[in-house]
Amino acid sequence: MSPVIRRVLGWAGLMVLLFVQCGAGLLPLGGFAMPVALLLAVAMAAVIALLFMEMWQSPVVARIFAFAGLFWLLILFALAGADYLTRTIAVVIG
């Protein structure tokens, strides 16, 4: 497949994902709304990184930096989440 066709197909895939994401946002999904929206956003980001940014064809060190960035993001959310999601609200009476 030629690079041009591959990119155009990737863009068409992104448009479909955007359409699905927008449609899902208009459905009453309750607690599933955030995971569904984020999953679709991650899929779109992956298409952009792999196809448009050619991440897999980049030097190895560049790929390590990309994953390091995501790992830092994970650390930030994991440690902050560990606090906020397990915090006990103590009610003071009196």
């Binding site: 690079p3 041009v4 990119r7 155009v8 990737g10 863009w11 992104l14 448009m15 955007l18 994401q21 927008c22 899902a24 946002g25 208009l26 459905l27 009453p28 999904l29 309750g30 709304a33 955030m34 929206a37 984020l38 679709l40 956003a41 779109m44 980001a45 952009i48 990184a49 196809l51 448009f52 940014m53 980049s58 030097p59 060190v61 560049a62 790929r63 930096f65 990309a66 390091a68 960035g69 995501l70 830092w72 993001l73 930030l76 959310f77 902050a80 989440g81 906020y84 999601l85």
Partner: protein, 209 residues
């Protein structure tokens, strides 16, 4: 025209080009941290004020947000087609991408004006917006900070693209060294990824609760 020599510290042109690409990825990794602080604030306050955030999301302009997302995704396609072309076609792709970027910023400006008219700006007048749930005003603080920072990144990207278009039209990348184009495209696509992450958080999640 003879090919310019690589800078002193590099073994050859390939070494210099790979270093530039690696440097851009390192910068983008630092940008992930820059935006992730903002996303963490969003997550914490959304967890704390779910009703206020849901009310606020319902008042954002879904139409403009979705059109802008489509514009940005298309701009990334156009630029990625430019990266694999040369000369005049590359210059046209850079100009086209910059044009789409300007279109995005203009639409964003229109959206800000509409928000202003609906009093959706944190401050004394926010009470007139009709959003009374706690957290709604905080959402709009996040909204303006996140979209404002993203717009600044877009403006920088448009300036870079115009410089690349000018250089490409003058045949600067015909000799084989296309590093500046590759690095510029990496930056632009990253800005695209940031928006793809912000879009559901601002316009979608909570709209139908």
């Amino acid at each position: 025209m003879s090919k310019p020599q690589p800078a002193l510290q590099y073994a050859d042109h390939e070494h210099q080009a790979a270093t530039a690409v690696i440097g851009m990825w390192l910068f983008l990794a630092s940008e992930i941290l820059f935006f992730s602080g903002l996303l963490l604030c969003y997550a914490v306050y959304r967890h704390q004020y779910p009703a206020g955030f849901a009310d606020a999301v319902r008042r954002t302009n879904l139409m403009i947000g979705t059109i802008n997302t489509a514009i940005l995704l298309t701009s990334s396609l156009v630029l990625s087609l430019g990266v694999i072309s040369n000369g005049r076609r590359l210059a046209m792709c850079c100009l086209g991408t910059a044009g789409l970027g300007v279109g995005f910023l203009v639409l964003k400006g229109v959206e800000y004006v509409l928000d202003w008219r609906e009093h959706l700006v944190p401050g004394a007048a926010f009470a007139q917006s009709g959003l009374t749930e706690p957290g709604a005003e905080l959402f709009y603080l996040f909204y303006y900070t996140a979209t404002g920072l993203h717009a600044v990144h877009m403006a920088v990207g448009v300036a870079l693209l115009l410089i690349l278009a000018w250089r490409a039209a003058r045949g600067a990348f015909s000799a084989g060294d296309r590093t500046a184009v590759v690095v510029g495209a990496l930056y632009w696509s990253f800005v695209d990824i940031v928006w793809v992450t912000l879009y559901p958080l601002i316009y979608l999640v909570g709209r139908m609760t």
